[in-house]
Symmetry: C2
């Protein structure tokens, strides 16, 4: 039986593939695993039946044969562990790929996410510009370190992995911020991810949901 994921009925990113169902869709496409999508309104997200699946009332969730999961990183890991295209078989290489998954979500994403949030919540505050500059400094430090490590390689640790999938998903949140462009190796890295056929299928699928709702 195909897994079922949840996604926004009408994504606030207007189909740009920045909602957290996108990395899950991408992983499913890389793995060649068919899936169904249940779309949720904002009010349904906060309802008790969805909270039984995700205690924080967020998307995505993942249901398959009696297993219910939440948290995009964990869902990507669950899909990845069964498919060598996303996590290498060699134990050490696998451990390093998993390290990049956590680095994407717990070291690189936080200042990037805060910047997006500040752009919504603090836009009208007199100190908005000042805080944006501080956040951009924090982001630039992470990007500089990441760019140095990537160097001229295609992917973070030999072949493409779920670590790259999550890192590229996180970096894509910087579109329009004029920060990624300062690091040509990272811009090329993101473009390399977006050129993967599995990324394109996932992107088109989430865009079709937004277009249909418009």
């Amino acid at each position: 039986m195909a897994a079922t994921i949840t996604a926004f009925e009408r994504s606030p990113d207007r189909g740009r593939g920045l909602a957290r169902d996108m990395p899950v869709r991408w992983a499913l496409e890389e793995a060649g695993q068919p899936y169904d999508v249940r779309l949720l309104s904002f009010s349904a997200l906060k309802g008790s039946s969805h909270r039984a699946l995700n205690p924080f009332g967020q998307i995505p969730t993942y249901e398959e044969d009696g297993l219910a999961l939440f948290e995009s990183g964990a869902i990507v890991f669950h899909i990845a562990q069964r498919h060598a295209v996303l996590l290498p078989e060699d134990a050490d290489a696998r451990a390093r790929a998993i390290a990049w998954m956590f680095a994407a979500l717990n070291t690189v994403e936080p200042p990037i996410f805060e910047r997006s949030l500040a752009g919504i919540l603090e836009r009208d505050e007199p100190w908005h510009e000042q805080r944006q500059r501080v956040l951009e400094g924090r982001i630039r430090e992470r990007l500089s370190d990441l760019s140095s490590r990537l160097g001229g390689a295609d992917w973070l640790d030999s072949g493409f992995s779920a670590g790259d999938l999550l890192m590229i998903s996180v970096l894509r949140r910087l579109k329009g911020a004029n920060l990624l462009e300062e690091f040509s190796a990272l811009s090329a890295y993101v473009a390399r991810g977006e050129a993967r056929p599995a990324f394109k299928r996932a992107f088109d699928a989430q865009l079709a949901v937004f277009t249909a709702a418009s």
Copy 2:
């Protein structure tokens, strides 16, 4: 050969067990796995030999038999996957425990970490109080959801797991913030974690480092 981790020579938390070597030490103690510690000064953290281990110049790292890992969540996972006390053998229960690991680091921690950071970086700004209230609102929302899910249970998903270890480590960052205290189930949950002998051994070991450096 015992694994070697890195930690601060002189932790900025003054031995309160809030640095990121603490969850790794705790996991190693739960697993009964002996370990060595290499202490690093702040300047050594940013040096090229440490950056070869951790591209972001942070602690902790983990080295064992030719494998080098960084990112505390990934290191805890690496230790946990070999020990049923940290990750259950049953595949579905294991996937759910991993979901709580990611939820701790990517859903619950971000506003808690931002609050700590704002307390350092923005303390003298006229808008500091205003922002702290917003961050506290974001934190309260997460704590409320987490508390509802935990209910009267001892741990997040049946037995203690690495998901609890990371969640409790994240919640401990709220000590002194008067927020955790609003949720008695969560205060009791953190106390339950801190009462584990493995936690105490790990806490004492990191405190001894700070005391020796003082």
